[in-house]
Structures are given as structure tokens and as C-alpha cells.
């Protein structure tokens, strides 16, 4: 009995933390008021939350079973791919966001994702086409 108390408390803490972070991520997705702000909540909080849930699953398998490190695979994959998909969604928000102007770039001519060459493919097109 006493041998399983500490792991169960640890698993319970990981579960509660992960579920809370996932709930906060989705709540922020619903609550925040502009598309770029909405990008913050799910891409960071939900990824951390699912990481904590996978950590709880791993602790459970080590405490009550043979133990497995399979969940690290999912965790690493999610942690690597979350910024990439967030980058793609931000590009969509920049290109399609009519109501939210892009801030001025600090020192370059334009943002690189808006700097598309002309359709003919000449790399030194005189100026980037107007976004939209």
C-alpha cells in the first residue's frame, strides 16, 4: 500500500497540471480578441498540457507496470511540430488578415513572407506586390 502512494500523488499532480493547461489553452483560444493573440494560447499552453499528460502516462507505466518510454516519442514529435504549424497558421493570418495590418518591419524592406517574386519567376523583381 505505502509503496504506491508517492507515485499516485505524482501522477495525480501531473494529470491535474496537464488538464489545467489544456483547459487554459482552449479558453484562451476562445477568449482572446484578435487572430494573432489567439495564436498564443493553444500553441503553447495546450502543447505543455499534453506533455504533462504523457508524463503522467509514463509515470503510471513505470509505477504499476514494466515501464515504457514510448510516450517520449509523441512528446518529442508534438514539441517539435507545434512551432512549425504555428508558423504556418501565422503566415495564413498575415496573408489573409484584412482587418489587421502587419506592423512595419524593423529594418528590412518588407516581411519575407510577403516578399514573393513576380509570377514570371525573376528573382530581382523590382518591388513586392501589394499584399492581399
Amino acid at each position: 500500500m505505502t509503496g504506491t502512494v508517492i507515485p499516485e500523488i505524482l501522477i495525480a499532480i501531473c494529470l491535474l497540471m496537464g488538464a489545467l493547461f489544456m483547459l487554459v489553452g482552449s479558453f484562451g483560444l476562445l477568449k482572446l480578441d484578435s487572430p494573432m493573440k489567439r495564436m498564443h494560447a493553444p500553441t503553447k499552453a495546450s502543447t505543455l498540457g499534453v506533455g504533462a499528460l504523457l508524463l503522467a502516462s509514463m509515470l503510471h507505466s513505470f509505477a504499476f507496470d514494466d515501464g515504457s518510454l514510448h510516450e517520449i516519442l509523441i512528446m518529442a514529435f508534438l514539441f517539435v511540430t507545434a512551432p512549425i504549424s504555428a508558423n504556418f497558421i501565422a503566415k495564413v493570418a498575415i496573408h489573409r488578415g484584412r482587418d489587421m495590418p502587419t506592423p512595419e518591419p524593423p529594418k528590412d524592406q518588407t516581411w519575407s513572407t510577403l516578399d514573393v517574386p513576380a509570377e514570371t519567376g525573376s528573382p530581382d523583381a523590382p518591388e513586392a506586390p501589394v499584399r492581399g
Binding site: T4, V5, E8, I9, I11, A12, I13, L15, L16, G18, A19, L20, M22, L23, G25, S26, F27, L29, L30, P35, R38, M39, P42, T43, S46, T47, G49, V50, L53, L54, A56, S57, H60, S61, F64, D65, S68, H70, E71, L73, I74, F77, L78, T81, I84, S85, F88, I89, A90, K91, V92, A93, H95, R96, G97
Partner: protein
């Protein structure tokens, strides 16, 4: 003070409820989302919440057989998010 085994079961129930609520909130954003980027983001969040739900089901039943399902959900969710975003950006997925 709650007994530890009760604590674990209670934490599992609370986690199930919180992840289900998170799934519902993301679904509301998917329906009302004003821009296309919001809808892609809501779908991505729903996939991540589904992975969490699968992990919780595996914990509740005490088995390891849901691991492959969670892994496939993770891979397919990433690929579908990128494909959807590229389709919106370029009008084409494979150029």
C-alpha cells in the same frame, strides 16, 4: 484528507472533464471563428485535445494499446494542419 487511491481517481475524473471542456471550447471557436486562420488553429487544438483524451483513456484502463493511436493522431494532425495552411496560402498543396 483524501485517501491516495481516491485522489488518483479524482484527478483522472477532473482531467477527463477539463479536457472534454477544452475540446468543446475549441469546437466553439471552430464554428464561430471569423478568419480562416482561426479555424485551422481550432482544428489543430482539437487534435491536440484528442491526443490528451486518448492518453487519459489509456490511463483509465491501465493499458498501453492506445499509444499507437495517439502517435498516429499526432502525425496526422500535424500533416493536416500544414496541408490546410498551404492550401489556403497557395491554392495548391503539392506544387
Amino acid at each position: 484528507m483524501i485517501a491516495p487511491d481516491r485522489l488518483y481517481d479524482l484527478a483522472l475524473v477532473i482531467a477527463f472533464a477539463a479536457v472534454a471542456l477544452a475540446q468543446i471550447l475549441a469546437m466553439i471557436r471552430l464554428v464561430i471563428g471569423p478568419t480562416t486562420g482561426d479555424r485551422i488553429l481550432a482544428l489543430d487544438t482539437m487534435v491536440i485535445d484528442a491526443i490528451g483524451m486518448i492518453v487519459l483513456v489509456g490511463l483509465a484502463q491501465g493499458t498501453q494499446i492506445y499509444f499507437e493511436a495517439a502517435l498516429i493522431f499526432a502525425m496526422l494532425g500535424f500533416v493536416s494542419t500544414v496541408a490546410y495552411a498551404r492550401f489556403i496560402l497557395r491554392g495548391d498543396i503539392i506544387e
